[in-house]
């Protein structure tokens, strides 16, 4: 693994949304670590809770609808959850930055992009000539050509790909230790997605920063991340190095997801889709939430929530029957 040691540590994170019918657990007992200088992937389908994890980390949960009921988030030892809002604002956009899915909604439509990058810098105490130099520096870092002229452009004048580069430039301006990227390429075309992913990879190398990449796209994870956590119905079901998880998935959900991909040049005539659809978070099945769709579920799966257990080589899975999974080839 690149870098040394843990930078961001999430322990037993549990986040609930309040609804008329009581608390709905969006995230339950989630623990993982992002190492220095690594791109860590958090993958799951819609409603799995992956965006709630990111919002819990950075203190951007909708209030008062959502709250963290348990767990800790530590950045380099600093407990982020216990920070007061003023301290959190200094961390956010400073040591921890964020890039969202749709740059058109995260950028200010009536402010030139250069000013938007500068705005973040001012907040973190960089002004005047130093700020201007930094604006041009980060713009060229993220591959926006002709920065001195382009800094006066408004978001609507830019393509989707360039807008996402601007969003990344804003995130990078204050030299964050960790970048939280929530589906950063989902709204982009595949050739532009490819450019942005390669940009993230080269930024990670150049700046040594860590990235927590949230996505639904397994291909994106395979091409950019060193380690990955798979989320289903609010819980992590598998964590491990990308090479291991993708070649030998140890949870039936991960295995099903990989089998659901058409994949280029595989010549399959049917996909072995996972039956059914994800459960309603308000009325989760007892025990393992995946058991209602799982091809190898047994009665015991309804009785206990399987713990995430390590079986060597940093590969963890939350499945009572993971050993059986390794043997069956379906």
């Amino acid at each position: 693994m690149t870098g040394s040691g843990v930078l961001l540590s999430v322990e037993n994170l549990t986040t609930e949304y309040r609804t008329a019918g009581g608390g709905v657990p969006a995230v339950q007992d989630v623990s993982f670590q992002v190492h220095r200088g690594e791109i860590f992937g958090l993958v799951g389908e819609s409603g799995s809770g992956k965006s709630t994890v990111i919002r819990s980390i950075i203190g951007l949960l909708p209030k008062p609808a959502a709250r963290i009921t348990r767990g800790t988030v530590r950045l380099d030892g600093l407990d982020l959850i216990s920070l007061d809002p003023r301290e959190m604002r200094r961390i956010r956009g400073g040591r921890v930055a964020m890039v969202f899915q749709d740059p058109m909604t995260s950028l200010d439509p009536v402010l030139p992009i250069g000013d938007q990058i500068r705005e973040g810098l001012r907040y973190h105490g960089i002004t005047g000539r130093a700020a201007q130099a930094r604006v041009l520096e980060v713009m060229s870092l993220v591959g926006i050509p002709d920065a001195p002229r382009r800094q006066r452009a408004y978001p609507f004048e830019l393509s989707g790909g360039l807008r996402q580069r601007v969003a990344i430039a804003i995130a990078l301006a204050a030299s964050p230790q960790v970048l939280l990227a929530d589906e950063p390429t989902t709204a982009l075309d595949v050739t532009i997605q490819d450019q942005i992913l390669k940009l993230l990879l080269s930024l990670k190398e150049q700046l040594g920063m860590s990235v927590l990449l949230v996505t639904h796209d397994l291909g994106v994870v395979a091409q950019t991340c060193q380690r990955v956590a798979v989320m289903y119905a609010g819980r992590l079901v598998e964590i491990g190095p990308v090479t291991t998880v993708f070649s030998a998935p140890a949870h039936p959900y991960t295995r099903g997801l990989l089998a659901s991909l058409p994949g280029l040049a595989t010549g399959r005539t049917r996909l072995r889709a996972i039956p059914g659809s994800p459960p309603d978070l308000g009325s989760l099945p007892s025990g393992c939430a995946f058991r209602t769709r799982c091809p190898i579920a047994i009665e015991r799966c309804a009785e206990v929530v399987p713990p995430l257990e390590d079986h060597g080589t940093d590969h963890l899975t939350a499945c009572l029957r993971h050993q059986e999974l390794g043997q069956t080839d379906d």
Binding site: S46, T191, Q195, H216, T243, A259, S260, L261, P262
Partner: protein, 352 residues
């Protein structure tokens, strides 16, 4: 050989644009060149895939085929009839034979109609079955697309995305079409649900001997369903091939780049540089000659002229000055160069 079910003959469609609130009648007329000179045929029972990124004109093409638009020039032939020449009543008779499945069933279904009402409506309007048989037919359609009959009285908002798309497909099938035009039917869906819908489309096509025109930005999805594929870029068809050929030996540099840009789920296959540099030019003012030349790694001055259609093998052609004729052994000089030059490309070398 049988007659093609669908034939597009040099179809071109532009959309005029007006700037500002007051149009300038004396200013230069500007238009979005959505589809330019597209020709292809689809045989009965065949699944033809159209792939391209946003703005390539694939959805406009779908709308031209179901005659939601008329072409500016060129023609669309269905069962030997020119769609543009059909009168109102002939067109009405034709509507049920060509049906469309849209990307977002939430916006294509009436939110105030239950599933039963939505399916009954098309059955009634087109007199598919006698009115007393409608309920039975609704049930049969729901079985066919894998929807539980108990959902018949639900409304679209009460269904999941996958279920809504099943309703969209059932409604298209209700009038027993020959040709199903599916425009990004799985794009809004989660991976596991997408796989279910793709399997369903494959099953239905085989059971009902449907002809399917399948449109998507996702190469893997197109490959899964289609026997032949056309690749579109900026309004033009740049390559056409039987599916296997296209993926094994792409003939156009855009296809090569597009294939390389898809993130592989094999983490050991990693590349450092972007497969295609730069961004899509404006469809208002597309490049002269080859439309891909502004982003093409092997472009030469000659590319400012319109590229020829180069036949590569049986039913495989590419519109490129440097497409190679004959059987390729994986060592075509032009494409080898595409790959090596793509490796040299810096991500900040954007051309715009």
């Amino acid at each position: 050989m049988t007659e093609p079910l669908l034939r597009l003959d040099h179809v071109t469609k532009t959309f005029p644009i007006r700037r500002g609130l007051i149009s300038r009648p004396h200013g230069p007329r500007q238009a979005v060149h959505a589809v330019t000179d597209v020709s292809f045929t689809v045989m009965p029972g065949e699944t033809f895939g159209l792939v391209g990124e946003s703005g390539c004109g694939k959805s406009t093409l779908a709308r031209l085929i179901v005659r939601l638009h008329r072409p500016d020039s060129g023609s669309v032939w269905f069962e030997g009839k020119d769609l543009a020449a059909l009168g109102r009543s002939e067109l009405r008779g034709l509507r049920p034979r060509i049906q469309m499945v849209f990307q977002d069933p939430y916006s294509s279904l009436n939110p105030r109609m239950s599933i039963r009402a939505a399916l009954s409506e098309s059955l009634t309007v087109h007199h598919v079955v006698p009115s007393m048989a409608i309920d039975g037919e609704v049930g049969r359609l729901m079985d066919q697309v894998g929807l539980h009959r108990g959902l018949a009285d639900r409304y679209p908002r009460e269904l999941s995305g996958g279920q809504r798309q099943r309703v969209g497909i059932a409604r298209a099938l209700s009038v027993r079409p020959q040709l199903l035009v599916a425009d990004e039917p799985v794009s809004g869906l989660d991976v596991s649900i997408r796989a279910q819908i793709l399997d369903l489309l494959a099953d239905l096509r085989d059971e009902l001997h449907l002809t399917l025109l399948f449109i998507s930005h996702d190469l893997s999805v197109v490959e899964f369903l289609s026997a032949r594929v056309g690749v579109m870029y900026l309004g033009r068809l740049v390559e056409m091939a039987p599916t296997e050929d296209l993926f094994a030996s792409p003939g156009h540099p855009y296809t090569t780049g597009l294939l390389a840009a898809v993130p592989s789920i094999d983490p050991t296959v990693a590349t450092r540089s972007p497969a295609v540099r730069g961004e899509l030019p404006s469809p208002v003012d597309p490049p002269s000659g080859c439309v891909f030349r502004t982003r093409c790694p092997i472009a030469q001055p000659i590319c400012e002229t319109l590229p020829p259609i180069v036949p590569l093998s049986q039913e495989h052609w590419a519109a490129c000055h440097f497409a190679q004729d004959g059987r390729r052994e994986g060592s075509s000089p032009s494409l080898a160069r595409v790959t090596s030059m793509a490796d040299d490309t810096q991500q900040n070398r954007e051309t715009r």
